[in-house]
């Protein structure tokens, strides 16, 4: 996932262009939803933030399994980098959700299954980052973090199915439904959502490239410090 400077430059500009296309579609192209009004457009930020967070936690889950299996530091780096990005975007989900809920439900927060499970997901991965920052570097820290990274991901299928299994305030799925992909949405709304999802996915890879590069620099610093220490 580490890019050359040319690749990161191309990725940066591609991300900026797609973000501007998404903003243009959200504010100028997509029609206003009849019952909720303009506030419904928050969905075009809220769903991509949730997608990015879930995707980031999926990368943590996969990298953690690969780390426990292969014991290669590379996978631990990917898991750590992705967890941080996931927490940032999960925080944005927990902020944009209540901003939409206040005018629609009349309350910032309700203890609905999906909302509560998302808050739990956020707490799990904040604990993951705290575990990493509060314990000494080494294989034990990486192993404990990997176990937490795997267990934490099990919350995501629960979040997805919570609105189907239990009575919920949260709207039913509109993108992935029992009737197929995007069946619950108008074509222009679906198109706008897809552009926004693409923008946030590109943003994930851009951020991930930077975070992985930083972790590798940190490893190199530790290696040089040890080299310098043993040379005395």
């Amino acid at each position: 996932m580490e890019e050359t400077p040319r690749e990161s430059y191309v990725l940066l500009w591609l991300t900026v262009v797609v973000i501007f296309a998404a903003m243009a579609a959200i504010f100028f192209f997509v029609p206003t939803e009849q019952t909720e009004g303009p506030v419904q457009r928050i969905m075009y930020f809220h769903i991509p933030c949730a997608w990015l967070a879930f995707f980031a936690f999926f990368v943590v889950f996969l990298s953690s399994i690969l780390f426990l299996w292969k014991k290669e530091r590379e996978w631990d780096i990917y898991a750590h980098a992705s967890a941080e990005i996931g927490v940032i975007f999960c925080s944005l989900v927990l902020i944009t959700g209540p901003i939409w809920a206040k005018p629609i439900w009349g309350a910032w927060w309700v203890w609905d299954a999906r909302l509560t499970l998302t808050l739990i997901l956020w707490l799990i991965y904040v604990s993951y980052l705290m575990l990493r920052s509060q314990t000494d570097p080494g294989s034990m820290r990486a192993r404990y973090a990997a176990v937490l990274g795997i267990v934490g991901f099990l919350d995501i299928p629960l979040i997805h199915f919570s609105v189907l299994w239990w009575r919920a305030f949260h709207p039913q799925p509109k993108v992935i439904t029992a009737q197929g992909f995007g069946n619950g949405l108008d074509t222009s709304m679906m198109g706008t959502l897809l552009v926004s999802l693409a923008a946030f996915t590109l943003l994930y890879f851009l951020l991930m490239g930077q975070r992985v590069r930083q972790e590798k620099m940190r490893d190199e610093i530790d290696r040089l410090k040890k080299e310098k220490l043993y040379s005395h």
Partner: protein, 49 residues
Amino acid sequence: MDNLGFLFAANAFVWAGVIFYLFTLKKRNHSLERDLQLLKEMVDKESKQ
């Protein structure tokens, strides 16, 4: 129903969060690059002595 303030608040929070994180990454990058450069120079100097 016209709740434009909520729409702009959500938009502002998302982009402020992204820009703040990008700024943090840039600052962290700068500090790591500086430390790495310094250490490389020290190790090089010691290996020449």
